[in-house]
C-alpha cells in the first residue's frame, strides 16, 4: 500500500439502483500528505461530502481503495473501521452536532469517553483542549449558551482532544460570518496543523481559500483540477 497520509485510488460511489443509479463519486484518485491542509471544493452535488465520507471511514465505496498511512481502510471489519474513526480521525461536522444536554467540557471529552478513558481524566484533558481553543472559561456551560464561533471552536476541540492524525472538516465556516470564519480557519492552520497531521476540509467558502496548502476541485463526482495554496 502507498504510504501518504491518505491515498485514494479510483474511488467510486453510486446511489440508487437500475435506471435511478446516480454516481456521486466516479473513479477519483488523489493523495493527501502529512502536514497538508487540503481543501475539497466544488458546487453542491459535486460529490465532496461523499468523498470525505469514504476517506474517513464513514461510507463504504462501491469500488476503489483508500489507504491511510499505508493501511487499506476498507479491508478492515466494521469494528476495526469504527476504531479507526475513533483513534485516527477527528471530525468537525457542518452543524457541529454538539450535545445540548452536556457541558462544553463533556462534549469535548466524548472521543476520550468512547476510547474508554477515565471520566475525570477525560474531562481534565477536555478542559486543556478548551484552553487551546480559547474557551477555558466556558467549560461548564452548555453549548447552547455559546455563540456560533464558540460552538465551532468547541467542535474543533472535540476533534483534536484525542490527538487524531487526520482532521476532517465539513463546511466549517458555513454557519459563521466572514470574520469569525477566517479567524477559526487561521487558528486551525497555525495551531492545529502540524507535520504529523493532515487536514481535509470540504468548503464552499472562497474567503478561506488563502489558508489552504492545496485545493482540489470537484464537479459531477470527478476531480477537475488542483490549485496550489500556501505552502507549509
Amino acid at each position: 500500500m502507498p504510504k501518504g497520509a491518505i491515498v485514494a485510488e479510483k474511488l467510486t460511489r453510486w446511489f440508487g439502483v437500475g435506471e435511478a443509479r446516480t454516481y456521486a463519486v466516479k473513479e477519483v484518485s488523489f493523495e493527501a500528505n502529512w502536514g497538508e491542509m487540503l481543501y475539497i471544493v466544488g458546487p453542491s452535488g459535486s460529490g465532496k461530502t461523499t468523498l470525505l465520507s469514504m476517506i474517513s471511514g464513514i461510507l463504504r465505496p462501491n469500488s476503489g481503495s483508500v489507504a491511510v498511512d499505508g493501511r487499506d481502510l476498507w479491508s478492515l471489519s466494521d469494528d476495526e473501521i469504527a476504531d479507526f474513526r475513533l483513534n485516527t480521525i477527528g471530525f468537525v461536522f457542518q452543524d457541529y452536532h454538539l450535545f445540548p444536554r452536556l457541558t462544553t467540557a463533556e462534549n469535548v471529552a466524548i472521543p476520550l469517553i468512547l476510547q474508554k478513558r477515565n471520566w475525570s481524566e477525560a474531562l481534565s484533558t477536555a478542559a486543556q483542549c478548551l484552553e487551546i481553543v480559547g474557551l477555558g472559561d466556558k467549560a461548564q456551560l452548555p453549548p447552547t449558551k455559546l455563540s456560533g464561533g464558540e460552538q465551532q471552536r468547541v467542535a474543533i476541540a472535540r476533534a483534536i482532544v484525542h490527538q487524531p492524525e487526520i482532521l476532517v472538516f465539513d463546511e466549517p465556516t458555513a454557519s459563521l460570518d466572514g470574520e469569525t470564519g477566517r479567524k477559526i480557519v487561521s487558528f486551525v492552520k497555525t495551531d492545529i496543523l502540524s507535520a504529523k497531521r493532515c487536514i481535509i476540509m470540504v468548503t464552499h467558502d472562497s474567503r478561506i481559500f488563502e489558508y489552504s496548502n492545496r485545493i482540489m476541485e470537484m464537479e459531477d463526482g470527478r476531480i477537475t483540477g488542483f490549485q496550489q495554496g500556501q505552502t507549509v
Binding site: T49, T50, L52, S53, I58, L59, D78, D79, A82, D83, F84, R85, L86, N87, I89, F91, F93, Q94, D95, H97, F99, R101, L102, E106, I110, P111, I113, L114, K116, R117, N118, W119, A122, D170
Partner: protein, 379 residues
C-alpha cells in the same frame, strides 16, 4: 463501558422534560399495576380469613365445597370419629361455620358470620382484647371480633345483649383476629354446641373437622385415609389456595383484575414507549454523530438499554413507594379497604416494567442501529 454509561446517564437525566415524562409514565404504570394486584391479593387474603384465623393444620371437608368457608356442606358426626381414629392424627375437633341474622337494639337486622368452636378444646379461638375465654361457656355467651365490621353491631361492649334467631345472646368477650373477613359481616365466636343449637341447621352439622397431625410426615397418610372416607383433607395452605383459585378462575374478580392489570401495563407502555421513542428520535442525530466519531453499534445499544433500564428501575421504585404510601394511607382512613402488597405483586410489576423498558428500548435500538453516520455528514 462505565464511562459510556455515565454519558448515557447524563444524556438522559439532563433532558429534564423527557426524563420526567418517562418517570411519570413508568411510575404511573407501576402504581396502577401494584394497586390492581394488591387489591386482588387483599381480596384473596380476606376470602381465606377464617382459614387463616382458625389456623388449623388440616381441614377435612366435603369435596363438593371448597370454594369458600361459607359454602361448606355439613358432614355427619361419624366423619369426626373416623378421622380421630386415623393413625397420625394428634387430635381432631369439629367446627361450625355459618351465617345468621342478629336483631339489634334499634330493631334492624344485621347478618353475621358465626364460628362454633369445639366445646371441649376451643381450638381456633381468637385472641381476646377484653373478657375471659371461659365466659364463652356462660349462658348465651358470644365473643365478637373487633374488626372493620365491628361497628355494624353498634360497637357492642362486654355484656351487650342481642337477639339471634329468637335466642338471647350476650357479648362476653371482644377479640382480635389476624385477618378481617371479605364478606362485610361481623364475626361472632361461640361454642360448637351453642352454634348448632341457636342456628337452624341441616341434618348434619359439622362444617369442618380440624385436624392436628402428630407430624408433617403424617399428612399424606391422613389425606389418603380421609379420601377413602369420601371426604377431602386440605392443609391450611392448600385450602387457602383452593379458595384463591376459585376467585381467580371461576369468578369475574380474577378476570377483571387481570384485565385492569393488562390495561395498566398498556397505559404505561404507551406513555413510556412513545416518550422514549421521541427521546431517541430527537437525539438520533447525536447518536449518528457518536457513531461517526467511532462508537460501535453495540455501545449505542448499551446506552439505550441503560437509559431504558435506569428509567424503569427508578420508575419502579417510585411506583412501589407511591402505591405503598397510598395503601397505607387508605388503610388508615378506610378500614374495609383490602389491599396487600405481596412479593408476587412486586415481582409481577417488576417483570411488566422490564417489558415496558425492553419494548421501548427495542424501538429505540432499531432506529439507532439504522442511522448511518453518512446522514450526519449530509446534514
Amino acid at each position: 463501558m462505565k464511562q459510556i454509561l455515565i454519558l448515557a446517564y447524563k444524556l438522559l437525566v439532563n433532558d429534564k422534560g423527557k426524563y420526567t415524562a418517562l418517570l411519570v409514565g413508568t411510575t404511573f404504570s407501576v402504581f396502577l399495576i401494584v394497586q390492581m394486584t394488591s387489591s386482588f391479593a387483599g381480596i384473596l387474603t380476606k376470602a381465606s380469613a377464617t382459614v387463616i384465623n382458625i389456623g388449623a393444620s388440616i381441614w377435612v371437608m366435603d369435596p363438593a365445597a371448597t370454594n369458600s368457608i361459607l359454602s361448606n356442606v355439613p358432614m355427619p358426626d361419624y366423619v369426626l370419629d373416623a378421622v380421630r381414629s386415623i393413625r397420625g392424627v394428634k387430635y381432631a375437633v369439629p367446627l361450625y361455620s355459618g351465617t345468621a341474622l342478629v336483631k339489634l337494639h334499634d330493631g334492624t337486622y344485621q347478618a353475621v358470620s358465626v364460628i362454633g368452636l369445639d366445646d371441649s378444646s376451643l381450638v381456633g379461638r381468637p385472641k381476646l382484647l377484653e373478657g375471659d375465654i371461659d365466659d364463652i361457656f356462660a349462658e348465651n355467651g358470644f365473643i365478637v371480633v373487633k374488626d372493620e365490621e365491628f361497628p355494624k353491631l353498634e360497637n357492642p361492649k362486654l355484656g351487650t345483649e342481642f337477639e339471634l334467631n329468637d335466642y338471647r345472646g350476650v357479648i362476653v368477650g371482644i377479640a382480635t383476629v389476624p385477618t378481617g373477613a371479605l364478606y362485610g359481616t361481623p364475626t361472632l365466636y361461640t361454642t360448637y354446641y351453642r352454634a348448632i343449637t341457636y342456628i337452624p341447621s341441616m341434618r348434619f352439622t359439622i362444617s369442618y373437622v380440624l385436624v392436628q397431625p402428630k407430624s408433617d410426615s403424617d399428612i399424606p397418610y391422613i389425606k389418603q385415609q380421609v379420601a377413602r372416607l369420601g371426604y377431602l383433607a386440605l392443609t391450611n395452605r392448600e385450602y387457602q389456595d383452593a379458595i384463591s383459585s376459585y376467585l381467580e378462575y371461576k369468578t369475574s374478580i380474577g378476570t377483571n383484575t387481570l384485565l385492569m392489570t393488562v390495561i395498566s401495563f398498556l397505559v404505561g407502555l404507551s406513555i413510556c414507549g412513545q416518550t422514549f421513542y421521541t427521546f431517541i428520535i430527537e437525539n438520533l442525530e447525536h447518536f449518528g454523530a457518536l457513531k461517526a466519531m467511532g462508537a460501535k453499534g453495540r455501545e449505542l445499544v448499551y446506552v439505550i438499554l441503560f437509559q431504558a433500564g435506569f428509567t424503569a428501575l427508578v420508575g419502579y421504585g417510585l411506583g412501589i413507594g407511591l402505591s405503598t404510601l397510598l395503601i397505607t394511607a387508605a388503610k388508615l382512613r378506610l378500614p374495609e379497604y383490602s389491599s396487600r402488597v405481596t412479593y408476587t405483586n412486586l415481582g409481577l410489576a417488576f417483570v411488566m416494567v422490564l417489558m415496558i423498558a425492553s419494548i421501548s428500548g427495542y424501538a429505540g435500538v432499531r432506529r439507532v442501529l439504522k442511522i448511518e453516520p453518512f446522514e450526519i455528514f449530509r446534514g
